[in-house]
C-alpha cells in the first residue's frame, strides 16, 4: 500500500513539474499580427490565448501538425504548424519548423495492406528507403493465411518508379529475393518448410493526402525447391503507406 502511494505521488509529481525544465527549448518571435493558441491539437479545440506581434513563445514539442507552446506569461496552448512557420528566431533567422515532406522526393515509407498470395489471404507490411527519387530499396514482411498452410514471407528488393513526379498515379517495377517459411495447418508437413525465392513485380503508387499514399503490386515468385517441380506463386496486394 505504501509503495502504491509512493508510486501515485511520484506520478503526480512528474505530472506537475514543467516539462523537462533543463532541456533547451526553441524560442521564437511572432511576426504575424497575432497567433492563436488552442486548448488541444486539433482544428475544433477552442482558442484559449492569443499572442501578439513581437512577443516571444517557447516551443515545447510537436504532435502531428500542431506545436505545443508556452507564452511569456506561462500560458500554454497548441499552435498550428503553418502559423508557427512564419515566426523568427531571436537571431532573425526563420524558425526551425520542418517543412512537410515532399511526396515526389520523400526518403522513407512505411506501409501495410491486404493481398492475395496464391489464393490465400495476405497481410503485408513494408518499409522503403529511397536511394534516388525513382529507385527504392524495399523490405517486405508478410503472412499468407490459407486453409491448407500459413506462410511467412520476407523479401528485399529494388523498385523503380517510372515517373516519380506524377503525383496521383505512377507505375513501378521491381525485382528482389526472399524467403518463405511454410507451416501446414494439418499433417503431413511439407517436404521443405523453407525456401529461397526470387520475384519480379509490377505495380503503381500514388499520393492520397498530406502524408499518405497508396500502393498496388503484382508479384510473380519463383520458389527454389529441391523437388522436380517448379512453383511460381502469384501475389496481388493493395496497401496504404505513410511517407517521411
Amino acid at each position: 500500500m505504501r509503495r502504491l502511494l509512493a508510486l501515485l505521488l511520484l506520478l503526480q509529481a512528474s505530472a506537475l513539474t514543467p516539462i523537462h525544465a533543463k532541456e533547451r527549448l526553441v524560442e521564437v518571435i511572432i511576426t504575424d499580427p497575432f497567433i492563436e493558441m488552442h486548448s488541444g491539437p486539433g482544428r475544433g479545440y477552442p482558442v484559449v490565448f492569443v499572442v501578439g506581434r513581437d512577443d516571444t513563445v517557447t516551443i515545447l514539442f510537436s504532435h502531428t501538425e500542431w506545436y505545443k507552446v508556452r507564452a511569456a506569461g506561462g500560458q500554454e496552448g497548441w499552435v498550428r504548424r503553418n502559423d508557427l512557420a512564419r515566426t523568427v528566431l531571436p537571431s532573425g533567422d526563420p524558425a526551425p519548423i520542418p517543412p512537410y515532406p515532399v511526396f515526389s522526393s520523400h526518403r522513407w515509407e512505411i506501409g501495410a495492406g491486404y493481398g492475395v498470395f496464391n489464393h490465400q489471404n495476405l497481410v503485408t507490411s513494408w518499409a522503403d528507403f529511397g536511394l534516388t527519387e525513382s529507385l527504392d530499396v524495399e523490405f517486405v514482411v508478410q503472412q499468407a493465411l490459407g486453409t491448407i498452410d500459413d506462410r511467412y514471407i520476407t523479401t528485399i528488393g529494388l523498385r523503380h518508379t517510372f515517373v516519380p513526379e506524377w503525383k496521383w498515379f505512377s507505375p513501378t517495377a521491381g525485382v528482389g529475393t526472399g524467403f518463405q517459411y511454410i507451416d501446414n495447418k494439418s499433417p503431413p508437413q511439407p517436404l521443405e518448410r523453407s525456401n529461397q525465392m526470387a520475384y519480379v513485380s509490377l505495380g503503381a503508387r500514388g499520393f492520397i493526402t498530406r502524408r499518405f499514399m497508396w500502393r498496388a503490386d503484382w508479384r510473380k515468385y519463383d520458389v527454389f525447391t529441391n523437388q522436380n517441380q517448379t512453383q511460381e506463386p502469384e501475389e496481388w496486394k493493395l496497401g496504404l503507406a505513410v511517407f517521411f
Partner: protein, 223 residues
C-alpha cells in the same frame, strides 16, 4: 622542384604584400600596441564567430503502451486479455496502430456438459492475435473533471486486419473497434477500447464467422 619552390616563395611574397596593402583599410578596427622598443606590433583582432545552435523541436508522434481487459472468445467464454500497442499519429485525424495480445479460452458448453469431450487441447486454448489498424479521430473534445481540470480526449474508430492464432491454427482476421483516448498529461494517455476480431473457423463443427469482442483499458505514453 625549382618551379614549385619558386611558386611557394612567390605566394608567400604575394600574401605578405596583400597584408601590407590591407593594413591601411582596416586601420580603424585594429589595435596598435605601443612597445617601448622597436617597431609597433599590429595585433589582429581574432574574434571567432559564435556558433548558435538551435535546439531541435521534439516531436511526440509515437504512442506506445499496454492494455488489459476482457475478451469474449465465441463459444469459449469471456477471459482476461493482455496486450501491447504502438501507434504513429500521421495527422490530427489519422493514425496507424499495431497491437499484439494474448488470452486463453475457457471451455465450451459442450465440454462443460460432457467432461470427456475435448474440443481444443490445453495448449491450443491460447488466443494470440496481432493487428495492423488505421484509426480516425472522429470526435475530438475535452473531458472535464470538476471545475479546474480539463483533459483533451478523442473518440476514435479503427479498422484493420491481422492474424488470430487459436486452437493451434492461424486465422486471417478483420477487426473493427471504437475507443476513447483521454490525454492525462503531455506524455500519458488513458484508453478505453472495444474491438471485434472476426474470423472464419470450423472449430465447433460447421464453418462460420466468429465474433470475438473485447473491452480493454490501457495506458500509453507519447514520445
Amino acid at each position: 622542384m625549382e618551379t614549385r619552390l619558386g611558386s611557394v616563395l612567390l605566394t608567400a611574397l604575394l600574401l605578405s604584400g596583400c597584408g601590407w596593402f590591407h593594413r591601411g583599410d582596416k586601420a580603424s578596427n585594429q589595435v596598435v600596441v605601443d612597445e617601448p622598443e622597436g617597431e609597433p606590433v599590429i595585433v589582429d583582432p581574432q574574434v571567432k564567430r559564435r556558433e548558435v545552435r538551435v535546439p531541435k523541436i521534439k516531436a511526440k508522434d509515437f504512442e506506445v503502451g499496454a492494455y488489459f481487459g476482457a475478451l469474449s472468445i465465441q463459444d469459449f467464454g469471456v477471459n482476461p486479455v493482455y496486450g501491447v500497442r504502438a501507434a504513429y499519429h500521421v495527422s490530427e485525424d489519422l493514425f496507424v496502430e499495431g497491437y499484439v495480445a494474448r488470452s486463453k479460452g475457457g471451455t465450451t458448453s459442450l465440454e462443460d456438459e460432457f467432461p470427456e469431450v475435448t474440443v481444443v487441447s490445453n495448449a491450443g486454448r491460447y488466443f494470440t492475435y496481432y493487428d495492423l489498424d488505421l484509426g480516425y479521430n472522429v470526435l475530438p473534445g475535452e473531458i472535464f473533471l470538476g471545475r479546474g481540470r480539463a483533459f483533451n480526449s478523442q473518440l476514435y474508430v479503427t479498422v484493420g486486419m491481422g492474424d488470430v492464432k487459436f486452437a493451434e491454427q492461424d486465422h486471417f482476421a478483420l477487426n473493427f473497434g471504437v475507443g476513447e483516448r483521454i490525454v492525462i498529461t503531455d506524455w500519458l494517455a488513458l484508453h478505453l477500447d472495444v474491438r471485434d476480431h472476426i474470423f472464419e473457423t470450423d472449430l465447433t463443427g460447421r464453418t462460420k464467422n466468429v465474433d470475438n469482442i473485447e473491452a480493454t483499458l490501457g495506458l500509453t505514453t507519447f514520445f
